[in-house]
Symmetry: C2
Subunit: 361 residues, 2 copies
């Protein structure tokens, strides 16, 4: 007596008794036997394509039995057969960041709407974990992938491209090969920020960030440097402080900056956690915002207005990024031909608050 037969007999018994044990998972075979048709017929009815031409009578019988047994197709068996799973993955470097969490949440909600399962993976800014996650998810049969990659390696991404696996890159643009890409205008917005600060009279402008493993940060620094060069700011390199992704790192960077013999009159901070550290340092040193120093921060967190001094922030269109990424991914998943890759550049938003002052020379 095989397992399946036992299972079937169990169903049979309970059906005769009028009970229905909905938790026991029925298979195609079970449904087929109880209805008295071949499993493939049930399969056809389940999939419900028009051109299968099943008679209304048997179709109805099958549907009723499907409902009775609470039959649901086994996604694993289906994935093994079809190499399709109605699921996608997103790999982000830090689930604790409101930016990445917001993107993941947006995509998660939309996936739920369209009947896809989303698997979220956090790589903790670790390149090795990212590679493992890509490998693991693809081997587990996801249909597509959204990745916000960390900086160093790109071989695993390149492989995805070579295999024509559908994927979308968030927050990073590769130079030497094409991908679907969603980025923000970090360079431009940073450039404009410096320009704005210069227009207020600032000549020494600091820049504090975490690790250099994320593309947007490099772009911000590029924007900063472009502006510095154009507007003749001196010592710009010495005013750029990079460290780790931690409060302490932000704290230390800020302390170093403000204890210089010629400290900056304004600081641009990159990242939520770093901002916490910078503010901690300013409080500690009794440096008031914006009287003693102007501050503007890249952060997508909600609390910036309620800090001990409301901070002017640069934020991302988090929801749009998520939606665009998913839309693009779905187009590539659903297209048979080799769809051309696309790149979207979304704008950052600046929220002016009273953390920036004019400098009187």
């Amino acid at each position: 007596v095989s397992t399946t037969q036992t299972q079937f007999q169990f169903f049979w018994k309970i059906l005769n008794e009028g009970y229905l044990y909905i938790d026991m998972t029925a298979t195609l075979k079970d449904v087929a036997k109880l209805v008295g048709v071949h499993p493939s017929t049930v399969s056809r009815v389940i999939r419900g394509k028009e051109n299968f031409d099943i008679s209304a009578k048997t179709r109805d019988k099958i549907f009723r039995m499907v409902e009775k047994l609470n039959y649901q197709p086994d996604p694993i068996a289906r994935a093994l057969r079809l190499k399709k799973s109605q699921s996608i993955g997103i790999i982000i470097p830090n689930i604790n960041s409101p930016y990445f969490a917001g993107i993941a949440k947006t995509i998660s909600n939309k996936c739920d709407e369209i009947g896809y399962t989303l698997f979220i993976c956090d790589t903790d800014e670790d390149q090795e974990k990212e590679i493992r996650a890509v490998n693991d998810l693809t081997r587990r049969g996801i249909d597509g992938l959204i990745i916000a990659p960390v900086q160093k390696a790109d071989l695993h991404i390149r492989e995805l491209a070579e295999k024509k696996f559908p994927f979308v890159i968030i927050d990073r643009k590769f130079n030497d090969f094409e991908t679907n890409t969603i980025i923000s205008n970090d360079l431009e917005v940073t450039y404009n920020t410096v320009k704005y600060l210069v227009s207020l009279g600032h000549k020494r402008i600091g820049f504090i960030c975490g690790k250099l493993n994320l593309y947007p940060i490099l772009r911000r620094i590029a924007g900063y440097k472009n502006a510095a060069a154009e507007f003749g700011l001196k010592n710009d390199d010495l005013l750029i402080m990079c460290g780790e992704l931690s409060i302490n790192s932000g704290f230390n960077s800020a302390i170093k900056l403000v204890t210089k013999t010629s400290p900056p009159t304004a600081i641009i901070v990159s990242g939520t956690i770093i901002t916490d550290g910078v503010i901690k340092a300013l409080i500690k040193r009794n440096i008031s915002i914006p009287d003693n120093i102007s501050l503007i921060a890249f952060t997508d967190s909600d609390y910036a207005p309620y800090l001990f001094q409301p901070i002017t922030t640069i934020t991302h269109l988090v929801e749009d990024i998520g939606l665009e990424a998913l839309k693009l991914l779905m187009e590539h998943i659903n297209s048979k031909e080799n769809l051309a890759y696309s790149t979207y550049v979304l704008k950052c938003e600046v929220h002016l608050r009273k953390s920036i002052a004019r400098i009187s020379n």
Copy 2:
């Protein structure tokens, strides 16, 4: 010519030419044919159990070929066969909360260490999504589940228990059936907080929270009410404000409280986002902390010290919660017998900052 044969021939060709196309995924069959053994032999070697007794010679040949072809067992086929997948899921109501994100991150890192894949699902505090997520994940063959459930329904959880599926509940204790459970001492810590405020002379203490769909919040309210009853606080019910999980909701709740004819002299706030809203309201009304009102907040975010007034906070042992949950889950996944369920109660931490003042009567 079947697909598999073609694939094999391709390998054969490239191997003869000395090339190795590592991206093409090899199967057991491929390895077997190239080595000249039966697939089942390869399978045995791969799984590497002692009692298989494969000769060292063939084992070595197989290992070499496995490496050469970069063979990795297909997790989907394996899952179909074994009903085991070396993966687990975590379902959380809000990935945007530092509390849940922190738990997920801790578990994610640990899973990576022990060779399990973690799938994170965000339900957006939506009961229906939670049910779908539970169903979806289990059907996709995860070996175990960690859930921080929202409040209303519990049938889907009960089903897991009845099926003896390994799972751990975070942040909720069911009354009428047993589960593995990790909770914090929210009731006690809230009780003690009120007691502390009373000891400082406070007699009207407000409580502001988001939705009532999370167990810890109900426990906090219970602790609040216990203390209110014990210490003879009046009108406690009228000082409890619940709403939505949004800044606006916190804002409105706070405005309502402080514009009462007898406003509270202290407020306990539950949740990060709600706290943002409350502080926004206090700023708007020019109510200073702690001179005009004392504030203490449940939040696991990092920024509380840097708010316009540093806030006394109650935080969770986020890392411990994650690690305990995973450890417990793994014990249940790996045990053959019916392991007894466990419940762990972890303590909250109170971080005193200058947001609380003594009341002079």
